[in-house]
């Protein structure tokens, strides 16, 4: 069986003013062909004006098994949110 081409993650900017967003992946032997495949696979209906492709192997991800330790500390820091502070109603523009 022949070996698969490397995997690339595809990001599309749908229009100016918005960030690139992950849409999926393609296999390609190099970056140039990855961009062409991404165009044919993910932008057949004017879904974007700009494409990024990134080798999937280059992405470092957090481990879902550690998500509690990783993301929970924020839950007990409610003072990071504006609604934590009681300001009387007659004070305006704050």
């Amino acid at each position: 069986m022949s070996k698969d081409w490397p995997l690339w993650e595809v990001f599309v900017r749908s229009r100016g003013g918005l960030s690139h967003r992950h849409v999926g992946s393609v296999h390609a032997p190099d970056a140039e062909i990855a961009v062409r495949h991404a165009r044919d696979t993910y932008t057949r209906r004017m879904e974007g004006i700009s494409l990024w492709v990134v080798p999937s192997a280059a992405i470092v991800a957090s481990d879902p098994a550690d998500d509690a330790a990783m993301f929970d500390p924020a839950a007990d820091k409610v003072y990071r949110h504006p609604t934590f502070y009681n300001i009387p109603d007659h004070i305006k523009h704050i």
């Binding site: 070996k3 081409w5 999926g24 062909i33």
Partner: protein
């Protein structure tokens, strides 16, 4: 396009950590999404890999019956539309292969399984497209049945599969409408053209109903798949819905559904319809469809005869990488 579960692997009960299993079941029951790196039971992974890859194979093999008419489309407009539709099917296959790969099976393994005959694909594509009206019937009925199945799968529990389904559903509606438009135009044409449309409906109606898979009493994995949210409605429920919306569409253009037992049942608010020939269905699943061998030969030929393109791209990438290293 779509496929139903056609291949049953023997259930092997893997020994799973009961605590993890309970947490997983609770998440799925709460309509939470499971993502590739999350823990999942082996049976869930296996069932999903089979379901998604069969679905991908169906998209790819589904290009063949329609590709057969690209060079013979009756007008430039129809040719451009058909070309775009077949290209969409390739795209759908790619979204789905990507989703299946996140479960740990490589693209190469899946394609190998298809070409060796180990993997199944939707039985519908083993029927021939003998007239132009068949292209209309496929869009209207086959893509119509696919939409019926895929819309609920947009809420399936496996994130990558659900996201692929969202993209597929967006594109599928054009497929169905262009097919119905072909039928509509044929029905407004000469009596010969209308006969051609009726003949296509006669041949595609029953295979389309079979696309929803075996009846619920013969679909032993349905309960587990429903619980895991990798199936959201049963085969018979979806089939009934399809009949109920499609019969009036046929009547609207003066076509009659080839089922003498078909009649409106006021008390259930749906149509009663005749018995499906399940012998035929299982024969086609076993690979005895009218053009099953031709389909697989076309796939293998495409793969083998174009190997040089893949090899050339590899060689070019290697050469460029070497140059970059030298510089």
């Amino acid at each position: 396009m779509y496929t139903t579960e056609l291949q049953k692997t023997k259930a092997v009960d893997a020994i799973e950590d009961p605590e993890k299993l309970a947490a997983f079941e609770a998440r799925v029951a709460a309509d939470d999404f499971i993502e590739p790196k999350d823990w999942m039971p082996e049976a869930y992974r296996r069932t999903l890999t089979r379901q998604i890859s069969q679905h991908a194979h169906s998209e790819i093999v589904g290009m063949l019956p329609e590709g057969n008419w690209i060079g013979r489309a009756p007008s430039l407009r129809r040719k451009a539309i058909l070309l775009a539709k077949v290209q969409d099917e390739a795209g759908h296959g790619l979204y789905l292969y990507s989703a299946a790969e996140t479960l740990g099976t490589s693209r190469g393994q899946m394609i190998e399984a298809l070409h060796s005959g180990k993997a199944k694909y939707s039985t519908i594509f083993n029927y021939p497209t003998v007239t132009w009206a068949d292209i209309g019937a496929i869009g209207w009925l086959v893509d119509g049945a696919a939409i019926m199945n895929q819309v609920p799968l947009q809420r399936t529990s496996y994130g990558p599969y659900a996201r692929a389904m969202v993209r597929v559903c967006k594109e599928e509606s054009f497929h169905q409408r262009q097919g119905y438009e072909i039928m509509m135009h044929l029905c407004q044409g000469t009596s010969e053209q209308k006969r051609m449309a009726q003949d296509a409906l006669n041949r595609w109606w029953w295979p389309s109903l079979m696309m929803f898979g075996p009846p619920d009493e013969n679909s032993p994995n349905t309960a587990q798949s429903l619980r895991w949210r990798i199936k959201r409605e049963t085969n018979d429920e979806l089939r009934q819905k399809f009949v109920d919306i499609t019969v009036p569409q046929a009547e609207a253009i003066g076509l009659s559904v080839p089922d003498p037992a078909l009649h409106w049942n006021e008390s259930k608010g749906g149509y009663d319809f005749g018995e499906i020939d399940w012998e035929e269905f299982y024969a086609v699943v076993r690979g005895e469809g009218p053009v099953a061998k031709e389909r697989m030969k076309a796939r293998r030929d495409a793969w083998e005869k174009n190997a040089w393109v893949r090899e050339a791209a590899d060689a070019y990438a290697a050469k460029k990488a070497q140059k970059k290293q030298a510089a």
